[in-house]
Symmetry: C2
């Protein structure tokens, strides 16, 4: 892809390694980054701190936290009092309990509002369909449907300037993401993937056992790159 | 339309007469109503009180206010410090300053999350494309695009049970809405349309001059039905 230099994009940062890598790819592709992180009353509020660090590290033009109370709706181990599953044998099959209802639809709708307000021409999201196919809202068909929402439901869209949805990781494996992110200097040590992190000495440690930690570890293993993640018990 | 009795629906209530009428139509069509109202830091918080009254009056199974801070994004006279336009001559042409960026996308995404959590089979929204064509996210093309998002981006959708988007007012004039709502006993006197209401003696008066008030008045006029709205100066 070639772009005019430095057009504005809205980048959804979760604090995790995928969104950080997606943002770094957009930056390398000469997009200006306006970062937003969504606080949906997630238990892992450490993610918001990680998102802020990633935005600063990548030189984002702005960083804004938007709040939306998905917790009031319930329905997920990430926002409810359901236990985060550990060491589960069936990881990757079915829709996991950590799935947040309509999460990416909500995130993209807020990013779309931000894009419309700022005139941004793209929305960058770090979804990935390969390693974790249990999430329906990480698949290309969903992203294409959302692009139609942007094209039909906004002032920009009516004027033929609907923001593109950029999902540069959608077909990458976790190992690909680790490799590409490392090439681009993504500060993986500042990212947080864990669904159940532990605070220790003003830092957050990854549990190492939830689905997200195991995918993260596997990614570094398969990429043959040393894992800088601080895990519990290391 | 015929339906199995009493399937659950998520109803978006704004406190206004359109969403109240849409909800009443859904109820008449034997949908159970789970009402949600969205607090997007709108200046007219009186709308939330009106939404609660409407939900109670219509016998909704539940009423829940979800909060999302669209105001942080700016960009609309409904959420910003831009003046609400009064008595404007060009009402109905172009996209009004009161357009909230991506509002219906955000509202529907939260309703979709609620539908997924509760297993609701429909989302009811009171959008109307005829009288107020300046809002891009009130048109059938937008609603169809959002149905595709629901079909592709949710657990229900993957299982072939994506919620329908019901927009019973989409092709109605304001006068049609007044007439149908009156037939169904919608408590119009408890609804609030005004973008700039005035509190007086613990009640909210409509300003009578903003676009929303003028459309409302025109609707009652054209329907030949007495307008029960408390206006400033009446």
């Amino acid at each position: 892809m070639t772009h005019m230099a430095n057009r504005a994009s809205i980048v959804l940062l979760s604090g995790g390694m995928d969104s950080a890598t997606a943002a770094a790819i957009a930056k390398a592709d000469r997009w200006k980054l306006h970062a937003i992180a969504i606080d949906y009353d997630q238990r892992a509020r450490a993610e918001l701190e990680a998102a802020r660090r990633v935005a600063a590290f990548l030189g984002a033009e702005s960083f804004r936290i938007l709040t939306v109370d998905l917790r009031a709706l319930g329905g997920s181990a990430l926002t409810d009092d359901i236990d985060v599953p550990k060491d589960r044998a069936d990881m990757g099959s079915g829709i996991p309990v950590t799935y947040v209802p309509a999460r990416n639809t909500v995130l993209l709708s807020l990013a779309l509002a931000a894009a419309e307000t700022t005139g941004a021409e793209a929305i960058v999201i770090g979804v990935n369909a390969l390693d974790y196919s249990g999430y329906p809202d990480c698949r290309p068909a969903f992203l294409e449907a959302f692009e139609q929402v942007a094209a039909t439901g906004t002032k920009q869209g009516i004027e033929g300037r609907a923001p593109e949805i950029l999902a540069p990781l959608v077909d990458m494996t976790k190992a690909d993401i680790v490799t590409r992110g490392t090439e681009l200097g993504v500060p993986f040590e500042h990212t947080l993937s864990c669904y159940d992190p532990v605070e220790e000495a003003n830092a957050w440690l990854h549990c190492g056992r939830c689905d997200a930690c195991r995918l993260r570890r596997k990614g570094f293993d398969e990429a043959g790159i040393e894992d800088p993640t601080p895990y519990v018990g290391d």
